[in-house]
Symmetry: C2
Subunit: 543 residues, 2 copies
């Protein structure tokens, strides 16, 4: 087999498998013995899907050895080089031709317009995270100057954020660009100074390969080491575990199911050196429809809610799959209006056959629970692989005693919880698991009269929305995409927006360090011209 074939599959500019393709290994940075033993114990064999070549544990060692070398190298570079790398990768993705979207359409059933938008979003992520590195926001640079006159002399202490080390990224099925190979996890890890090893999502392997090639071209053009980015195809859970278990890997980014995320967390916690897993595992995103709003805008809201619920065949981690409200005559009108919308939604193909089967199974499971009543379903029958919009209701009492009703039904399904009164609505809220988002459809008077409820809702979510819907996740500094467990494995960090970079950094303090050997962001002259906290004042001034 030619080196060129390997090269393409592994998205290294040189192949790590062939003797003619790679630089001799430098083992210094890797504890080979413990790496191999942990891999052996997991029977880790990583295969290259596109050619089904067997990639054994020593191949993974070589990939991660390159990643470790790249980590050392890229942290010796000036920060502006990292910014240039990210902008170069953004250029490469932007320059990709129609093949990208056509391939993703074929692999994911997502429509062209949506994929064009997602491509633009992906490019924007790389550029805006590069901007956050350039303006120093991801560094949180701070300086406390010395005071030798103090009774106990005060040293000079300065702090910045440094990369954790090589990061393993597991992409999602529902965003083949923005949350997959070239998605937010990869962009934010690189922004943090961490090389990335992506496990390609099996749902869209060709799309992933096109993206991986674009990243590798960017890495080469920017003059970064080949190990800055690697892309591997694995077929079994054991292979994914081998990657997470490898001692070179220092953090994990994951977007997907609760089961998948928790499996990685378990592996990461069992390591000799446990590592953080930032898993965004989705949620049912409760919508609270309050009485004032219901009485004034019920029919219009029903239309908007149906639109958000069925957008993209409901295949969003922010899909509003639960509506909590009080049972009253106005609610009947809302449900009737919702039914009018839902019956007219034409069932559409889901991301893949497995997801469509799971949607039906989970939907039936919820509908089969005690007290659940079906109130609306798309009139056209769903063909194989399609998802039909469906709405059911249940009483607050039945919801309170049955945790199964909080199961995420990934797809266009909503459960409406009809509470008897405000007190029951509060009890239902306090029973909720952690959520990525919560939405209030309310008047100002509703908010003013339900402060306790609003506080309880805030305590359950990562983003709280007023008279809007959760199914757009804006890429910006103020976005928090994450939430209390189990919506994410770590509620303290976002996976969207430039603050996502901080997932892959840790603070490092320098005490009495000579100016010339400090990182640029901590030098007296402030050569980067960034905002810093100096003796508790925020300033761009030089010292």
């Amino acid at each position: 087999m030619s080196g060129a074939a390997h090269r393409k599959n592994m998205t290294f500019s040189k192949c790590v498998l062939c003797p003619d393709g790679h630089t001799p290994a430098n083992n210094r940075n890797i504890d080979k013995k413990s790496a191999v033993s942990s891999l052996d114990s997991l029977r880790g064999i990583v295969t290259i899907l596109s050619k089904h070549q067997i990639m054994n544990s020593s191949d993974l060692d070589l990939i991660l050895e390159k990643a470790q070398e790249a980590f050392v190298a890229m942290n010796a570079y000036a920060l502006r080089r990292r910014v240039a790398l990210m902008n170069t990768i953004a250029d490469e993705i932007e320059a990709l031709g129609a093949e990208l979207v056509q391939t993703a359409m074929a692999e994911s059933n997502l429509p062209e317009a949506r994929l064009n938008g997602e491509k633009a979003r992906t490019v924007f992520q790389w550029r805006s995270y590069a901007q956050a590195v350039e303006n120093g926001y991801s560094l949180d640079a701070s300086i406390d100057t010395a005071n030798p006159q103090r009774a106990v002399p005060k040293p000079d202490i300065r702090k910045t954020n440094v990369g954790l080390g090589p990061v393993a990224v597991f992409g999602a099925s529902n965003f083949p660009f923005a949350f997959s190979t070239a998605g937010g996890d990869t962009a934010s890890a690189i922004a943090a100074g961490c090389p990335v090893v992506v496990k390609a999502h099996p749902g869209h392997p060709k799309t992933s390969q096109i993206m991986a090639d674009a990243i590798s071209r960017g890495v080469a053009k920017a003059g970064f080491p080949e190990g800055t980015f690697a892309h591997i195809f694995t077929e079994t859970i054991e292979e994914a575990q081998a990657l997470v278990s490898h001692p070179v890997i220092k953090a994990v980014g994951f977007t997907g199911s609760n089961r998948g995320g928790l499996a990685l967390v378990e592996v990461a916690n069992k390591r000799k050196e446990p590592i953080p897993v930032f898993a965004e595992m989705g949620s049912i995103n409760p919508v609270f429809l309050l009485p004032g709003k219901l009485s004034t805008a019920g029919a219009e809201l029903a239309k908007q809610y149906a639109g958000s619920l069925t957008l993209g065949v409901g295949q969003f981690c922010t899909n509003p799959g639960l509506l909590i409200t009080e049972d009253n005559p106005a609610l009947d009108g809302f449900i009737e209006a919702l039914n009018q919308e839902i019956v007219n939604i034409v069932p559409a193909p889901m991301l893949n056959a497995g997801i469509a089967v799971a949607y039906r199974g989970n939907r039936e499971k919820v509908i089969g629970q005690s007290g659940v009543e079906l109130v609306a379903v798309a009139a056209n029958e769903a063909a194989d692989g399609q998802g039909a919009a469906t709405v059911a209701t249940v009483s607050g009492v039945d919801f309170l005693i049955n945790d199964e009703l909080q199961t995420e039904v990934f797809g266009p399904f909503a459960l409406i919880v009809k509470c008897r009164n405000a007190e029951e609505m509060l009890a239902v809220t306090e029973k909720l698991h952690g959520q990525l988002t919560a939405t209030l459809l309310a008047t100002s008077e509703d908010l003013a009269s339900r402060r306790e409820l609003v506080a309880a809702i805030q305590n359950k979510c990562g983003r709280i929305i007023f008279n809007n819907f959760p199914t757009g996740v804006e890429v910006c500094k103020s976005m928090h995409h994450g939430g209390p467990f189990p919506s994410s494995s770590n509620s303290q960090f976002t996976s969207v927006g430039p603050d996502a970079i901080k997932r892959f950094t840790r603070p490092l303090s320098f005490q009495n360090w000579p100016d010339e050997f400090l990182p640029d962001e901590l030098k007296n002259a402030n050569p980067l011209g960034i905002w810093r906290t100096v003796d508790n004042e925020i300033t761009k001034a030089a010292l």
Copy 2:
């Protein structure tokens, strides 16, 4: 037994055990059923040490019910009230009379001057963390304004940090004030808006009770709910586990041994809802003595190093217990000078008998390893309960193959690793476990010629020190006290300095939220007058 006795022991202003002492329970915020079942499974029985009253699992439930109520209440208060609470607690601690230091001297064997300094440090922590709340640094407030004209309308998104929920704190033996009941973990959790339940350290129970009473007086004077702070005495590991397992607890702060910290991490990970544990578990804090520095300042350095090593009978998590250097003739002079210092150090009482026994045992264990040679020991024999300063050497090769040589010997013990050359020194560095600190004793020429070594050292520690010693941990914004595993369980957060507050917060985003219902820090007018990131610019301006 009188309500008053309970009251004092539990540091609630009202007793939770006696019918006459407490307000009727409001169960709404607690999932009582799951709380009790998880406690039962752990056979959790919490006892009040000072009176040896049995506190069963339902007593713990009551304490945590109060904590949850306080969490809800304190997050509805204006931020300035939290600042006032913290300053009031600082005043109460500052006002404590001679009894505090006298009690701590008796319980910990620490000298008066040290304890007076530690008391001032503790007060400073409360005040400076209050300042960080007041100036908004702990909130990271940011605003991205709406753009309704964009093709896909851009919503208004604003983000602040909110408290995680009630926090369990486990104090340390070696800092009875600054890292115990009223220490940095308690201060930073309250600063984050989280009620605290402290498990009193058994090594200094009376000291802890005096501090707890001061905090409770502060809570009452500031008008905060009684559940804002609770102080419990436990006797077994099961009791500590019951606290960490309780569903109301949302995070843990711990300072102490590796074994203790990891046990809590394990319990926290096994919960139905896993929670973060911020455990600072100590390290051996390598000192790198580079050739240029050794040749120019060997004897002076030996004196300074001996001082840092034996300060406080070596009982600091930042004690520099490992010295890594190159074997050359100048090193013999350094070791001889060090020996001169060490032999003259008079053995002093350690914190308690158990710690003195452990010191001897761990020291003997390291000395007994292959290739280890004793080179200096205090001339005066150590009595029971005392620790004698001790220094040993080992070759780089022996160190590389023996992980036991990285065991923390808590006390005035140092191991000198003699490397054959620069390459071996780099290999030894890369073999090191994660450390709180690393120190370079070096000239500028040493730094310039050893860039690879310096990068490798930075990768192993949370704070890197140049020609200074690690045994002072400055309380300031730029301090990072934490480091890669196993020196801490979470390298991304500090346990010293106002950034420690962020351990107990999570971001919360508000989308399209009405101005009047936003938290003050996110309101258009910026009524708190704090720095905020508005549309990617840092500013104090109103919108």
